[in-house]
Symmetry: C2
């Protein structure tokens, strides 16, 4: 089935929730959440007990629902799932999210139950997400099969595929604090039917998804993964965090979402061959997403560094040249220009350590405009005691560093990242100064490493054209 | 000269500040700061103009000071430093901090000026820190030759040596937010005299320093470094962030504090041979300090993992086994005990993925007590919607996870770290629950990596005994 078979997961006309209930839990919370998101008139609750919940009628069976339904969310005990699925099939509903746990992740009995789900799905031509997941999120129409906080429902350019429901859910809780907002999310759970390849293909075609984050424990279908990644990565970056790298790690995932992960070397080869970007850790995944979601692709690998601390400039340079970036000399005209405004003690080179010279705000745009520079790292640290003095004298950080936020649009073709370390108040002020489109890092190394990944992807895309 | 020659930098009887002035800057801010720290009656300001500053008399020359002075802080233009140093020498003051910049970091002329400082220091038998630095901090007697905020003056177990003044200063601004508090700090600058070896030896003998953080661009004296590290690391861990790893990075440091860094491979060999712990990045340095400052050394390399998310448990396992840790089976008695309280679907193994079983608070102490486990990683993630529901039902996070803070003292011999990812409010609540002696990380990988470094150090110490 093509990617259009996933459409109703994200854009349902009518949604049945089977397993609505009065006691705390998904069956209670999700109806309340969807009501608050404006879905009350397209949401139908089902429970054999009938009655009312949150002021909404509870239907005793699916067949009683007097309106078209194209998506069912199933939250009933594992043993009851096959029966419910058949009923859904009989009603002609083609998309189902099974959130219930208790399947292949628990052992042999659960595995048999899960196979039954797959069989039923095939028989009725249904697409099933799950079991053992929290389903989907679409921030644009405010539909989600999982309770989220308001800030996680703010639309953005990133979409998420997570094999694990909990992982996807806590990532959604966490990302707004990192300045990351999402378009869609899908948690796969045990993958009785819908897998990461279906999801990648769907999000690859989704116009509001600019960057895809994927958390994978083991590929459901290796050949399919290669094929799908090759289709998707030329259009948008796919950032992958893959666990089960080691034997012990593999064993840990086996009992968790019921999959066995393959050999790690093969995954490395697959990701490299398909231009997928592999994250080395959860923080690295988030760093990459922040940068890929906001920055243009660089035209080359030449990094310009401007810094108020020589030490941090050196740490950035180390990472850059270890990772296929160059830190070239400035062009003669940039160097002359900076020299003309700089005090004698300042060394005019790259990294450009401006120290307390007061030239930062004028030098940074020169660096961005330099034709020998493809991307810029702006390291902004000032001891807080100095910041306080400067403020006392009536100067602002904008006087010092310039109108950082405007640079993203003034130099649309060159990636620009910021680094700030120091007192929390100063860090917050600099982040505010940079605005939402220049990611701010708390150390030079992860920022530089993200720029190297951006170049690696840009280079690969260039080769394919 | 022995380490006692550094004593007056940290415990001065009387301090002369040469270069006090009325305009904003160090010469204005440091006197005000030291006044606020209670040093007014042991601080003597010097400026040829005389007069008053902050209600304190300003002496026209050092000779006019009517009380004993054993430390001078010099904040005058570079050209004036040699003259001032001679005057200090004539007065018999043996410890001098030269904060002024404009020496070897700026070129040949500055280098000559700096050599003059070294010559004068030798002639008068003085110890000189700097030039181009911010000197020292001692939180215990509230003495510092740099303006700091109140939270950075809170005493703690970590001491810092930073080759760069700005780097040391922003680190001091930053660390309280990471839960790290310091005993002493010293910024070396251009090292006309006092270097990292003197500083390591001094802090190695300092009873309030439990862990040393060192930021180094290039060794002043390689043999001395090997010898000093060999003396210090058996007594306390030395965490080193070394920049200039690459040719370009080296070039970047050359113009900064006027030193050329040596070859990186040699440094790796030196650090490994002397049991110094090399940080891979600034965030890694801070992670290591948080763990070494609070945790006991493990007796072996066996890691127990308890988690509410199988995914994060797998990511931790990957890092552990890649870094010489083992993730062994639980002992039979622990396994039986956990099995007895666990629902059927829960897999009783290591990592112990308790999911939403409600057994976390009882299982974690069992894991810590297990004789097959040397250290524990506690991964605590719950989707925020679930947290909200649980709170509505009257339960607290302490009900869920147990009295985390008490575990540090109940199991004093086993390192315990926490990981939490999710909504900021949940993250803050868990951090509060863990208390100040169980570091909380925002991802499993850096926490596991820090535990591996702890074991690496513990193992090395064991071999020496």
């Amino acid at each position: 089935m093509g990617v259009e078979s996933l459409h109703s997961f994200f854009e349902p006309e009518g949604v049945a929730l089977v397993g609505a209930r009065r006691s705390p839990g998904f069956g209670y919370g999700i109806p309340l959440f969807l009501q608050a998101q404006g879905w009350a008139n397209r949401l139908y609750l089902v429970n054999p007990a009938g009655g009312e919940l949150h002021g909404m009628k509870v239907f005793k069976t699916l067949k009683d629902i007097p309106a078209p339904v194209d998506l069912a969310i199933v939250i009933v005990p594992a043993e009851a799932v096959p029966g419910v699925l058949k009923e859904i099939g009989e009603c002609g509903i083609k998309n189902v999210i099974v959130e219930s746990a208790g399947f292949a992740e628990t052992g042999e009995k659960g595995r048999a139950l899960q196979e039954e789900i797959g069989t039923i799905a095939k028989r009725y031509g249904m697409r099933v997400i799950g079991p053992n997941c929290v389903g989907v999120v679409n921030t644009l129409n405010r539909f989600a099969s999982v309770e989220l906080l308001e800030e996680s429902m703010t639309p953005g350019p990133v979409s998420i595929i997570a094999q694990s429901g909990v992982f996807g859910n806590i990532l959604l809780d966490h990302l707004p604090r990192c300045g990351l907002f999402i378009s869609k999310a899908i948690t796969l759970g045990n993958r009785a039917d819908v897998d990461e390849n279906d999801s990648l293909a769907y999000l690859g075609n989704d116009p509001t998804t600019k960057t895809i984050m994927l958390y994978l424990e083991g590929a459901a279908d290796g050949r399919g993964l290669v094929k799908t990644l090759k289709q998707v990565t030329p259009r948008k970056p796919v950032l992958i965090l893959k666990s089960g790298r080691t034997g012990a790690g593999k064993q840990a995932t086996a009992s968790h979402t019921g999959s066995m992960s393959g050999e790690d070397g093969i995954y490395n080869a697959v990701f490299s061959q398909t231009q997928a970007i592999r994250a080395q850790s959860l923080p690295h995944l988030i760093d990459l997403a922040r940068v890929f979601a906001t920055q243009p692709l660089p035209k080359g690998n030449r990094l310009g560094i401007i810094t108020t601390s020589g030490s941090l400039g050196a740490l950035a340079t180390d990472v850059a040249v270890s990772a296929d970036l160059r830190v070239p000399n400035l062009s003669q005209s940039t160097a002359d220009h900076v020299r003309g405004m700089a005090p004698d003690w300042m060394n005019v080179r790259n990294p450009l350590d401006v120290g307390p010279s007061g030239t930062f705000s004028r030098a940074l745009p020169l660096l961005l405009a330099d034709e020998r520079v493809d991307m810029v790292l702006s390291i902004m640290v000032i001891p807080y005691a100095v910041v306080k003095n400067v403020k006392t004298m009536g100067f602002t950080l904008k006087d010092w560093f310039g109108d950082m936020e405007s640079l993203r649009s003034r130099f649309p073709d060159k990636p620009l990242l910021a680094v700030v370390v120091g007192h929390p108040e100063f860090v917050d002020d600099v982040a505010h100064l940079c605005g939402p489109y220049t990611p701010v890092f708390n150390a030079p190394e992860p920022a530089t490493s993200a720029l190297a990944a951006l170049w690696e992807y840009a280079k690969g895309r260039g080769e394919w054209r």
